[in-house]
């Protein structure tokens, strides 16, 4: 396996790990409950109503982002695996048919 190819694969794997970390980090940010607390502080106002809507929107946005970051991580990892497997297969292929092989 060539050095450049190895570097790219390492980069993809690192990207995958960081995307997963970002997804987990984003998922841990509980924004909706904060918006709910704002609604409770100003009961009876339009702001309370808007804060309730914001709680729902924020919860959905954060959950979706977290999930998509993790999904991105998974696909990057799968890509790296596919590239590596393919490279090994090609390498194996060349090794079995190459000029040094005794006939």
């Amino acid at each position: 396996m060539g050095d450049d190819f190895t570097v790219v694969l390492d980069g993809i794997r690192t990207g995958s790990e960081q995307a997963r970390a970002a997804g987990e980090g984003a998922g841990a940010v509980k924004l909706g409950e904060l918006a709910t607390s704002i609604a409770g502080a100003l009961r009876g106002t339009r702001s309370a109503t808007s804060a309730g809507e914001l709680a729902t929107a924020w919860d959905a946005a954060v959950a979706s982002l977290s999930a998509d970051l993790k999904d991105h991580s998974r696909r990057l990892a799968e890509s790296a695996t596919v590239y590596e497997d393919t490279e090994r297969a090609v390498e194996t292929s060349f090794s079995s048919t190459g000029p040094d092989r005794a006939i």
């Binding site: 980069g11 704002i38 009961r43 009876g44 339009r46 808007s50 929107a57 991105h72």
Partner: protein
Amino acid sequence: MVSIGDIRAWQPDALDAAFDALTSRQDTLLGLADELDAARVPPGWSGDAASSAASWHGTLTERTRRIVAGVSAVRRAVGETSDAVVAVGRALGEAESLARFHGFAIGDDSLVSDVHPPVVAAADVDAVARERARVQAEIIDRLEQILRRADDVDADFSGVLGRAARDEIDDGSGLSLSGASTAGASAGGLSTIEPPPGGTPADNAGWWAALSEQEREALITDKPELLGNLDGLPAEVRDEANRGRLGDERARLEAEAARLQADLDDNLFGGTFTNADADLDHVNAKLASLDAIEKTLEQGDRQLLLLDLSQERAQAAVAVGDVGTADHVAVFTPGLGSTVNGSLEGYDDNMERLRQQAEAESDRYGDGGSVAAVTWIGYQAPQPGVEGYNPLDSDSVLRDDSARRGAGDLADFYRGIDASRATDPHLTALGHSYGSTTTGFAVQQDTGVDDAVFFGSPGVGTSHIEDLNVPPGHAYRIEARNDPVADFGAFGIDPSHLDGMTGLSAREETLPGGRRLAESTGHSDYLTQDSTSQYNMSVVVAGQHDRRVQDDGRGWGDIGSWPIPGTY
């Protein structure tokens, strides 16, 4: 619409906690920048898959930026709303204190109920009822402004929350999370509500009370012209705002003077066929007025409570002492010929000495209460000259138009003093000559004035004492010997013949302790130091009414001014 009950239930502490938590969440989100950056497509990876991964990474980064922008906007809005909620709560607390002090109660529905009406003597029933109605109206005005502010805060805050919920907060340009945070925060600011258009002094006081400290400081710095002349605002605020305007006003007037002078220089006929020469005179008089104001302020312990250069002649009010804290406040209104450039320094000197005299009397006989005295040249007083003596001119001293116009502003100035403070001071209106007519018209309104002294008065704008809205027995006149103006009876009957008006002496007198006081004669010596006239004003101002020296002040001139029964 927000109600008083809603405001009472608001929880600023919970908003503060939400602000802190949002700060923490914002930091966490900004901390994702490293992970997102490291998740980029690595150099060297190319092809369709790499392009797809890069595109998706960009989408995820942008979605993170939008959340960051929304959080930053809401965080700022929560912080400013928390400050505003505290301010609104404080303003409501002040209104509740005012209500409790006067026996009123404020309901959750904003209803101001008279729960503890005082028991008063029959003779005082009308005056007390009038005063309570004034206080009740002030409380209602304050509540209206508190609710107006609360609605404004709610509308602004709700707007930010709604835009965040709909993902409409602008996250700016670029790719960084910090850039999105900055852009989002800029979208989360609440507006500062402007003063109520045409508001009463109590409206203005309520508006100011409901602003946060940050908003107040920003207004004083950025919009002093909005505050300086606003009756109902604290004296120290008006003073700071008006002082802050002096430099800009001078520069503006100097530029205007230079422009007018250039017009005159360029015109072969000078100002013969234009108004440029008259306009230049007015501008130069206003510059001289600024000189007079600054010299007066240099005396120290002064407050500039009014600065209006928008009229033909400058208008100003300068207090000696602190109107915001003094136990006794006097407001002096001068008459014919009064101008800021020509009269302020002299009258301010009179007020300084009157204040010292009043405090000395208060120390000697009373409670040692502090005194502030204001020279109020807040109207276009008639001027000597063709216009001033022309009965067909509305600015003439022979007509009451100027006095009536000035009285409206003067009444608001009186009301503003009471409205600007947590506790009303003992307030005395002093009016000299035509200024006494202006004062007379002013105190015919509900103003909170406790005592009124008219001296050298050609009439107080009415022939009936009950028209003057001061407590019974608290309207005074002083007439010096050989003061013909005091016998004119031009605006209502001669005050010397007004039943119920208490005459105070301007003659030479010896007080019970042996102190000798000098006589004032003519029209312009009423405020002379150590005169009986000045002494009488000082004891009224100090609330030492039993120390006054009474005298009917009648002379030959009063025979001629005796009104014919049935004609007034």
